[in-house]
Symmetry: C2
Subunit: 335 residues, 2 copies
Amino acid sequence: MSEPTIYDVAREAGFSIKTVSRVLNGEGGVRPETVARVRAAIEHLDYHPNPAARRLGGGKLPTIGLVVDSLNDPFFGEVIAVVERRAVEMGMDVLVASTGMDAARNQSQIERLVRRGVAGLIVAPFGEGQAARAVLPDKIPVVVIDRQCGIQDKDVVRVTDHEGAHEAVCHLVAHGHRRIAFLGETAEFSTVQDRLAGYSDALLEAGLEVDGQLIETTCWDADAAYPLALAMLAPADAPTAVFASTPLVGLGVLRALKRLDRQDVALVVFGDFPLAELMTPPTTVVDQRPTALAEAAFAHLARRLEDPVAAVVETVLPTRLVQRGSGELPPRGPR
Amino acid sequence: MSEPTIYDVAREAGFSIKTVSRVLNGEGGVRPETVARVRAAIEHLDYHPNPAARRLGGGKLPTIGLVVDSLNDPFFGEVIAVVERRAVEMGMDVLVASTGMDAARNQSQIERLVRRGVAGLIVAPFGEGQAARAVLPDKIPVVVIDRQCGIQDKDVVRVTDHEGAHEAVCHLVAHGHRRIAFLGETAEFSTVQDRLAGYSDALLEAGLEVDGQLIETTCWDADAAYPLALAMLAPADAPTAVFASTPLVGLGVLRALKRLDRQDVALVVFGDFPLAELMTPPTTVVDQRPTALAEAAFAHLARRLEDPVAAVVETVLPTRLVQRGSGELPPRGPR
DNA sequence: AGGGCGCATGACAGCGCTGTCAATACCTCA
DNA sequence: TGAGGTATTGACAGCGCTGTCATGCGCCCT
């Protein structure tokens, strides 16, 4: 009635549990004929090794831990979906943990997962440099996603934040914009800092002034961005285009535009979001391609699970400018 | 260097491991003074019991399994976020599993989680009646969410599908609509069947004819709904209002409306979605309140983990009609 | 023929915890 | 004073698996 154990398999196959264990773990040193018989017994009994027991014997759980900011964020939702699919394909589970933008919680979540005995971790890290690095375990493989945070000795998969922002702003400039606003929280994340740098560089290259009045670096979420966007777009000399450094900030901007009933302000958002194509006008975005990022992260983790001492790699995926309309609006004339 | 074990705590406290175990599990029969000393030792060593070892001793992992259709669906994303937050609050983990609308995978995922030794399961079930019920384990608590699927002997948390659809269609009727379309896949899910029933009942109550031409029951996702919506809205005698039975179907309809450049078709979507307020016009929805649903599901599971023989309850949460504009449009005049 | 070697397999001790049952000390009541 | 409780604690055997080390056997070489 209860789950069969390795003893049942051993009895069924007519060998010792150790031999079964060898077959299970592909250790070799077993006659092919024996392997076949053990396999048959496993099949016959529908045996599945008990992960807890395995772990107890010093091993790791067939489980991957995934630590992200927010589990209902569309970006991370995509990441979760990909990681889960790949993990299940190779017989592993996924434990999820959210940090909710809280460094302490980030740390405690990581520690919890490590204690649980996960075999590897995919983490969207938090903070910067030493602090960010310190909370990552060294005993198991870790792949850092989305934000590099100055971490040097772990595999990292991120996107071209600087180049993506640069391209977006160049795009706006190419469409005639001279006054382009930047909205985003730069204190918290290096990614947003990189995007701000990309923004500034693009302006400078175009021979345009970087106007501090048009740069808002204190809004993280949509609720914070909304009033700031409202205020920024109100004046007579308001910018004719806006670069939103994250989808949430973009949402705040879109709300402000809706509120102001303005469809003439050009907008590019860093990070795609569902229904962007249904906005009026459809929103032009810098696609971070979360699926590709997640695939790469998982591939790195899988590689490192096999070969823990493989060389550390940093993968920087290119972003993709998706022109949908809002980023191609011309500057409106003076009111 | 390595994690402290119960032996370390016992030594530190000056008692046997069994006494430490008693304190850990709140078994009682331990002098308060002893409890305090053990607690102090635990604190001092930063000891955390090894879940794998616990499970091996016949127990369950401090882990909840969550099985949903899709991990990047906004609705389930909300559910995941809530469940994870609550679970962590009570020291538990969350293992996620997606089924991708595949009955076989649904079953294998559930079996996998059960084998892992999760303490309880929250499942969006699949199929109908016997088949749906059969894959649910009986050894551990299970809470069924979103779809009842004819399951009688498990706790269920769902929403008022019939009433919600009924209210939505009545709302459209009240705004003068006489030709109201229904789009959604009814073969797969009883929830959508209930919504269709609510739709039909509302029409009949209003003395309106239920026109099979206006009912499309074969589209599950946005890609399938799009051409069907396009076709349905094209004729001269096209419906003046549409009821979309799921957010994905709603998305397909919105795409079709965008394509046709029509802003005069009334629309109510069953299930809220991000950015609905930013549509033109903003989309009126029947909010399924995923957060409330997830909270209720978790509460049920927690209750049942404490008391496995508690009476089975079915919680039916009311939906909420969120009027944003698209559902309040008047019927357009003849072209 | 005999020593040595490699291959295939098995016996057994943990891993960290909980369940069972025993032991001890201290009371209580007759 | 002694039998029988009660409260507190501990010894020990698993749980299912893997790591270590031992065993048995056939084969090669000298």
